[in-house]
Subunit: 319 residues, 2 copies
């Protein structure tokens, strides 16, 4: 019998969102639960997901119509199906999540981290349709990446490849990153990195700025965007700085895998041209001449509210 | 009929070396010609190769025993079989070398650049046997790289992936590189880069050193090695500096493709532990914690005199 649907599960630190998706990337049914309602027992969390999924599955005609389940999870390892030492989840150590869920649901289940899932989603339904070689960069609270070569996500020797947010962007006096090292791209080009840049410029200069009307500690990347749209020079300088670091690193990433495109995804991309223009300019200024004006820089084409579920679901078509 | 041999051709700016290789990586016959004897006509160069090859082929029992020809060439593009705008060859523009040679010889021919050929050679006959994910770094006049993921060399969208020598190692006041940009790894970690480091330290300090007995302009990486072996502090400082830049970049490369090993090849590796020790130390200091003490750093196991021919020949087993 035909199996026209897949299930995507996006596991975040706060909420777990799941949906049923068709081959064109339409989310036909969707629901969510709290991730940390049962910090003491992962099996109760699995029960919650199963209850929610069963309801959605009935709406689309039963389990026979579901090809598989894809999960995007923090520190998810595609090879093992395990979640390994995820700092923002309540269950510690190594969790055999894909196995637990597929045993419970009797549906084949694949799992990877959220940035890799986003790459597969973009290739299946979004801006990377038809591309065999591209790099997905997710610009959210952190900076993640999913690298696709010859149509396959790069998982590497151990399943954890593609941590481009933790390549070093600023070698001298670099900012401390959440990973404990200094100078990582993530400490600059994430939403939190943009807010840190704002505070640094406001503290170290006396330039006039709309951002000075806000308590420094509460400034967000959204505030920087709002100020830039109103022509604020400091806010524009912040995007120029962020775009420069991203563009310089993109030039290095191209030297690695010679992708057709680099695709940016996540909250920071709402800045649109304020981000895109300096990223492209600095990438072109820094890239080796054989790749000048050859590599596209694009924004994700997935609707943000559905993107994580779509990305996770796309994994299941390959099961 | 059984075809137990492949042919490897290593095209350098000065000499073109070719050999017949068996499945265990033994070079059973070998010869060489001048690369630039016929700068006016590539077809005369092809004639020279054909004459040389025919002689070797007769020695091993005729064309029926040859599975294919592999060529390692500057700016060689695996996808097209073309040599494209190679600065150190006498023929300009785009040369359809694989087609010209296979038409002439009536033997299937594959072509790639020398660093990619070295990676395939190492996987077939050397330190990377059995590995599916590793990075080859060639440390010669320049710094080249061949990246293997899931058992395949990464060629990227256009055939030119893997230019890790042209990722930026020193962002502020970086040295001018042969590619016209500044701060490339190649400007530091190549044999010529090591010699530049020597001259910089000798000029900018008054530290005592055996290297001061040589005319500054003539100092080579070999001289630095010889001085280091004798305990010269400046020479040791040069290897420490070179090893630091390489180790820092290796940490970034690991974040990309999570390889099982990084394998160093080329003239600079003769320095042995003088290079290996600081490379490993700085790599471990800089790598993301999930990869600490997990990624091997190795030297090539191919005999240097045969390595380029072996690497090129290995391509032909896949034909």
């Amino acid at each position: 019998m035909e199996k026209p649907y897949v299930i995507g599960i996006d596991m975040g630190g706060t909420n777990t969102v799941f949906g049923i998706v068709d081959a064109r990337g339409t989310v036909v049914a969707k629901s969510a639960i709290k991730t940390s309602a049962h910090p003491e027992d992962i099996n109760l969390y699995i029960e919650d997901i199963a209850t929610g999924l069963d309801k959605l599955i009935n709406e689309v005609g039963g389990k026979e119509r579901i090809k598989g389940i894809g999960v995007g999870a923090p520190n998810g390892n595609y090879y093992t199906g395990n979640i390994e030492f995820a700092p923002n989840l309540p269950w510690k150590g190594v969790i055999p999540f894909a196995k637990l869920l597929s045993d419970k649901m009797n549906i084949p289940t694949a799992l990877t981290n959220d940035a890799n899932a986003a790459a597969v989603g973009e290739m299946t339904y979004g801006a990377a349709r038809g591309m065999k070689n591209f790099i997905m960069i997710t610009l959210g609270t952190g900076v993640g990446s999913g690298i696709v070569i010859n149509g396959d996500v790069v998982y590497g020797h151990d399943g954890f490849a593609g941590e481009l947010g933790h390549t070093i962007s600023v070698r001298q006096n670099g900012r401390i990153c959440g990973c404990g090292r200094t100078g990582c791209l993530e400490a600059y080009a994430s939403a939190t990195g943009v807010a840190r840049t704002a505070r640094e410029i406001l503290e170290s200069t006396d330039k006039q700025s709309l951002l000075r009307n806000l308590p420094a500690e509460s400034i967000t990347s959204k505030d920087v965007y709002d100020a830039a749209v109103q022509g604020d020079e400091v806010a524009k300088e912040i995007f120029e700085f962020t775009g420069r670091l991203l563009g310089e690193k993109f030039a290095d990433f191209i030297a690695f895998s010679a992708p057709e495109a680099i695709i940016m995804f996540g909250g920071l991309t709402k800045a649109g041209d304020l981000l895109m223009e300096p990223v492209k300019r600095h990438m072109e200024e820094n890239v080796l001449s054989i790749w000048k004006n050859k590599v596209k820089v694009l924004f994700s084409e997935l609707k943000e509210a559905d993107a994580a579920v779509l990305g996770a679901s796309a994994l299941a078509w390959e099961l």
